[in-house]
Symmetry: C2
Subunit: 201 residues, 2 copies
DNA sequence: CTTTTGACCATTGAAACAAAAAAGTCAGAA
DNA sequence: TTCTGACTTTTTTGTTTCAATGGTCAAAAG
């Protein structure tokens, strides 16, 4: 069973490599198989279909994300600092996995099945919940005023995501946003976050 | 000359009626002509091409928008109140002209020519400038702290626009966002605006 | 019994082309 | 100066074709 999981993980990592470079739609199961020097049916032995593989990929990426952010979750820093760190972590993931289009509210067009959408929404929910906890602790510490935690956390994340969304749309000339646009986006998110948090005091 | 302008305006209004219902792309010059009981070459007598007509339409709509918001511009109300009014005015325009997709950072796909994009960006710039003025006055009154007006006004509008953008993407099931989603979007914008302005104090 | 494969099928998606519709033009009438 | 019917050119749309891709299966390998 452990070996089986290892192979599963190897396939997922191989898929991620392709996805990062060519995107989900432009990556074929054959290519993933060839990269790993196995036959296509082998892939289908571990994953019933392409959707399941994509699901595994999403799980992996979000697991990595949560691992990174939860590491800093219990350090004693100010709310502002903590959220700045989170914004920068998300920014790194955004850049790395840009071709998977996991950032917008609506995920990649490849995420067509209901299961995938549900998985994706589940991950987003977990992220909101984490921010609710962060805001709760900040509230208990008196860093921010009493408020509707759920609603506020959602609005906070959505406002940041909105900036990302506009950034992507704006630079619709190229396939990939320029480093410059990326930097501008990050700065805007940091500025907005600072103002937003100040507005909660 | 006045008669000529009158006909021009009539054509623009006829075009707007079609655009509101079917969108820019699905409206043909023939249909606009037929609605007005004139021939197509008559349209081309007043507008060299379809882009010019669209340009006229955009000018008209934004002229209406600025007329409405500038009316309240010199009343003596709080920054919060003023911005809430503006959000609701923009919301009404967003609903009314939804099919023209004039809301996002990137306008409708129909706005393909460089002139149209320039015109559209010019309108957006004027809106930012107006908000810069509003923020300046608020700053002079001591309603908000000293800050980079241009940058702040842009960030403010962009964060609101981001909410709109996500709202549109989210409800990609239907052609038109539901009244419910619209209401949620409006509420989010009002909440975000309140927090944002408080964060500027 | 678990894992892997070559050969196969069914569907999707892109390329090429034809048909339709739209944008845009022009000589000439009102 | 303003407008039109008839026309040309360009774009969009529909269709056919065919290769590429997702997915299956019986049988082999370990």
């Amino acid at each position: 069973m452990i070996v089986l999981d290892k192979k599963r993980d190897a396939i997922i990592e191989g898929a991620i490599k392709r996805f990062i470079h060519y995107g989900i739609q432009k990556t074929t199961m054959n290519e993933i198989a060839e990269d790993l020097s196995v036959s296509k049916p082998s892939l289908y032995y571990y994953f019933p279909d392409k959707s399941s593989l994509i699901e595994g990929v999403i799980e992996k990426i979000f697991a990595d994300y949560f691992e990174v952010v939860e590491k800093d979750l219990y350090t004693d820093i100010s709310l502002d600092e903590r959220l700045n760190i989170f914004i920068e972590v998300r920014f790194k993931f955004f850049q790395k996995y840009y071709m998977l289009h996991l950032s917008g509210s609506s995920p990649d067009a490849s995420l067509n099945s209901d299961e995938l959408k549900a998985k994706f929404m589940g991950m987003k929910k977990k992220n909101i919940d984490m921010h609710v906890d962060i805001f709760r602790k900040a509230m208990e510490k008196g860093e921010i005023a009493a408020l509707d935690l759920e609603k506020t956390a959602e609005l906070y994340l959505e406002s940041l995501m909105g900036i990302t969304s506009l950034c992507i749309m704006h630079g619709n000339k190229e396939l990939f946003p320029s480093k410059k646009d990326m930097k501008i986006m990050l700065d805007k998110q940091l500025s907005l976050s600072r103002i937003f948090i100040k507005g909660l005091k």
